[in-house]
Amino acid sequence: MPSEGHPGLERLERRLGPRTRGRAASIALGAVLGVAGVGLGVLLHVVTSGASYAQLVGAVALAMVLGGVSAAVAATVVGWGVGSFLLENPDWQPVFADRDEFLRWSTSLLAATVVVGVGWTMRRGHERAAIAAVEAERSRRRLEAIQELTASLSAAVRPADVAEALAGGVVEALGARSGSFGLVEGADLVVVESRDGTGRLRSAPVRMSMGARTPLAAAARQGHVVWVERRAELIRAFPDAPSRDAASVLAVPVRRGADVIGAMAFAFRETGAVTLERRAVATLAAELGGQALERARLYELERLEAERTGRLQSLTAALAESLVPADVAAIVREQGIGTAGADAVAIHLVSESGETLELEGASGVDTTGLEALARVPLERTGAVATAFSRGRASFHPTLETLASDDPLVASAAEEGLRSVALFPLGASRRVHGVLLLGWRTAQALEPTDRAFAGTFASQCGQALDRAIRYESERTIAETLQQSVLPQVLPEVEGVTFAARYLPGESGVDVGGDWYDAFLLAEGRIALVVGDVVGKGVGAAATMGQLRNSLRAFASEHEDPAEVVRLLSGMFDAHVDAPFATLAYLVLDLHDRRCRYVVAGHPPPLLVEPHEPARYLEDGRTLPLGVDADAAVEVGETTVEVGATIVLYTDGLVERRDAPLDVGLELVRETAGSVAGGPDTLVDHVLRRVFEGTERYDDVAILAARLEPVRADVLDLRLPADREGLQQMRTQLGAWLDGLGSRPEVRNDVLLAAWEASANAVEHAQGAASGTFGLHAQRDGQLLRLRVADSGRWRAPGSETSDRGLGLPLMRGLMDRVDIVHAAGGTVVVLERRLDGRQPAGRSRSSGVFADTRAGTTQS
C-alpha cells in the first residue's frame, strides 16, 4: 500500500523537527546543564573533600544526550567558564588545588566534548541519509500520485468526475486522512467528499453555503490557501468544519482563469501536518483541477448543445406532422418539458375575437393552478399579454421584477415556479399565442439557455403559424368543394343513388375529388366522378368549373364521347390545373343501356345480381388536359334491373402497401358480396377497404342501382318501329295485368296506347332519335299515359284517310285525350279510370263523322 511508508517518515520528522526548529532552546539547556555539572562537582568536592571533574564531564554528556551538540557545546563553555571563575576566586581554591589541576580538568572536558561531538555527528549523518532515502521515496510516491491524479483528471469529462478525481486523488497524494472538493454554484458550494485516500466517495454531494465557517468555504471565498495545524485553532477559527478528529486542515482554492470556481480541503490527524511540501502539492493539484474543470465545462457545453440540437430535431419532425393548431399545441405540451428542459410548459392561443389569450394546454403544472392565466384579456397589462402584444420574448430569472398584480405571479406562486420565460408564438409578425416555460428552481437563464429556448419557441411558432394558415385554406377549400358536390342526388323513378365524400384522414389538403349525378332528357341519367390533380383551393375551384361545364355539355350532347371531347377542350383552354381524370356514364332508363367514357380514371364497377362484379374496361381515353384532340371512344354495356354501377376516385383503390390490382380486387370482391341497396353497398365497401388503415387521400364514391319499376309507374322508351310497338304492347299489357285492371279496361288502354304510339312512330320516321316514349302512371283509380314522339306533329288524317280513325278511336276508348305540341315533339296524354265506369265524355257526336281535328290542343 502506498500509504505504508508514511508513518515511519512522520516519526522521523517528528524526532528531527525540534532540533532544527529549537536551536536556542538547546543552547539554553546546555548552559543550564554546564552550570549544574560545575555545581555538582563543587558539591561532591565539599562532601568528599576531593576535587573531581568527572561530574562536569557527566553533565556535558547528559546535555549532549538531551540537547544535542549545541547543548553539549554550551555545557562545555559554561562549565569551563564557571570552573575558571572558581579557580581565580581564593574562596573557592579548594575546588582546584592548583592551576595544573584546572588545566587537566579543562583538557579532559574538551576531549570528552570532542569524542561525544564526533560520535554525535556520525549519527546525524546516518540519520540524514535515512531521511534523504525516505524523502526520495516519498517524492516518488507523490509524483506517482500526482501523475495518477493528472491521468484521472484527463479522463474526467463531467465536472462531477473532476470533483471525484480531485477529492480522491489529492487525498492520496498528500497522505491526508480525508479530503473534500467543493464547486461554486451560485451562493453555494456543492461538496464531494472522500476519505482514507482511497478515492471512494464518502457521501453524495452536499450543499454548503459560501458563508460557512469551514476551511473549504474560506478558501473559496478568499481565493488563497488556508491552513491550520492545531485542533484548538481549527475549532476556534472554523467552528463549522466537519472533521471531528482532524488536527490540521489545508484548503486551497480552485480557479478557472481568475475566477474561483471551487476549493479543496484536506484533513490530517496530526498536529502541524501542513508542510510547505503539502501546500505545494495541493496548489498544483488545484491548478490541474481547474484546467480539468474548464475542459469538462467546454465538453459539457458541447454535449448539451448536441443534445439540444437532437431534441430540437425530433421536435421539428413531430411538428412537421401536425397540421392543425390543436395538434401543434399538443406536441408542444407533450415534448416541451423534455425538449426545452423546463419544469412546466403552457400555451396560450389568441381567441377568435382577438381579445383574449386562452390557455390551450399545459404540462408539468396543474392547469387549475394556472387559473389566473386561463383567460388573459389583452387589454390588461401583464407579462403574458405583453409578450403577445409586443411580440417579444421576456425572461424572468426571478419573478420579483414583475408587478405584484400580474396574473403570472399568482400562477407561478401557486405552482412553485421560480423562473419563467415567455415567448410569442408565431412567424413573420403574425403572433398567434404565447409559450410559457417555467422552472421550479431559480434559473440564471444564461444567454445560451435563452437562445436555445428561443429556438424552441420559434420552431413551435412556425408550426403553429403553418397550421393556422393551413386550416384557413383548408376551410376555404372544403367550403368550395362542398359547394360543388351535389347537395341532393336526383330522384328518378327506377334508380336509387348513394354517394359519399371522405376527406383524407392524415390531414392532407382537401383534394379535387368530386361526383355528380343529374337527369338528362328522355329518361337518361348522367353519372360522373372526377379527380382534379392538385390540392387545396385551386383544385376545388377547378372541380367546380369542370362540374358546371360537364352539366352544360351533357344537356346538349347525347354522345358521351362528344361531351368528354368538349370538356377536354374547355380544360385545355381555360383551366389552370395540370390535368384531371373523369369517368362519365350515361344510363338510359328505357333500354338500360349504359354508355361511358373513362378519361384516365379507374374503371367503373358494375355489380350485377347473381354475377361476379366486373369493371367496365372499355371507353378508355387520356385524362383531360393531356391531349384535347385524343380519340375518345365510348364503352357500352347493358345494365340489368337490380344491378349497381359504382364510380369512385383513386383514393378507394390505391394503397400505399400494395399494388393497384390488389385495391381494385378488394373493392370488386367486397362490392360483389353485398346484399342491399346502394347505401349499404357504399358503406360496406368503405368500411372494408379502410378497415385498420389510415385513409391518406380523399375518396369520392357514387353508386346507382337500377330498381325494378314500381307497380304504379311504367316508363318506356322504345325504338320507333314495329318491334318497338310490339314491345310497348307487351310491357304495357304486363304492367296493366300487374295493376289488376279489368279486361275491357286493359284492352281499351292497350288499343288507345297503340294508336298514340303508332302515331308517334309514324311521326318519328326520319327524326333524329328514332324513338318514342311511353310513361304510364296509376294515380288512385286514374290511369294516365303520356306518349311522346320526337318529331313534328302532323295532323291525323292529313296524309291518308286510313289514318284518321286513330284519334276518334282514342277518344272513344279513353276518358280524356289531350295532344300537346312542344318543341321537342308531340305528347299525347291519355286518361282512363280503372274502376270501369263508362268513359265520361263519350257521346255519339264525337264519332268518325265529326270533325277529326276537333279536340286537339295547340300549345
Partner: protein, 125 residues
Amino acid sequence: MTTDMSDLSTTHEHPAVEAIRHSPAVAVLVIHGQADLHSAPELREQLHRVIDDGAFHVVVDLTDATFVDSMTLGVLLGGVKRLRPQGGQLRVVVTQPGLRRIFEVTLLDRVFMLFPTRAEALDRL
C-alpha cells in the same frame, strides 16, 4: 277464344289475310292474328283485288283476329266507300265483345253491318 292480346309476341308472325270466293258476287276475307297498321297494306290490297275481280259484297271475318287497330278500320272504311256507289255491302264478322266495342266506340257499327258469325253474314246476300 282468347281476348288476351298480351301474348301476341308468341304469335308474332305475318298476319295472314285469306280471301275466299264464296260466290261470284260475294268474297270473304278471313283475317288471322293481328290486324294492325302493318297488316293494313295487305288487307287493303286484298280488298281492292276482290272488288276489282267483281265481288259485289265483301265479308270480312275477324273471328280469328286477335287485334284490330284504327288503320285496319280505316282500310275497311275505304272498302265501304268503294262498294257503296255500286250498292254493295261490306259485312264484318265480329265475335269477340272486345272487338265489337271498337266498332261501337268509333260509331262504325253504324257504317258496317256487324254479324256474330260468318254464316249470318253470308245469309241473305
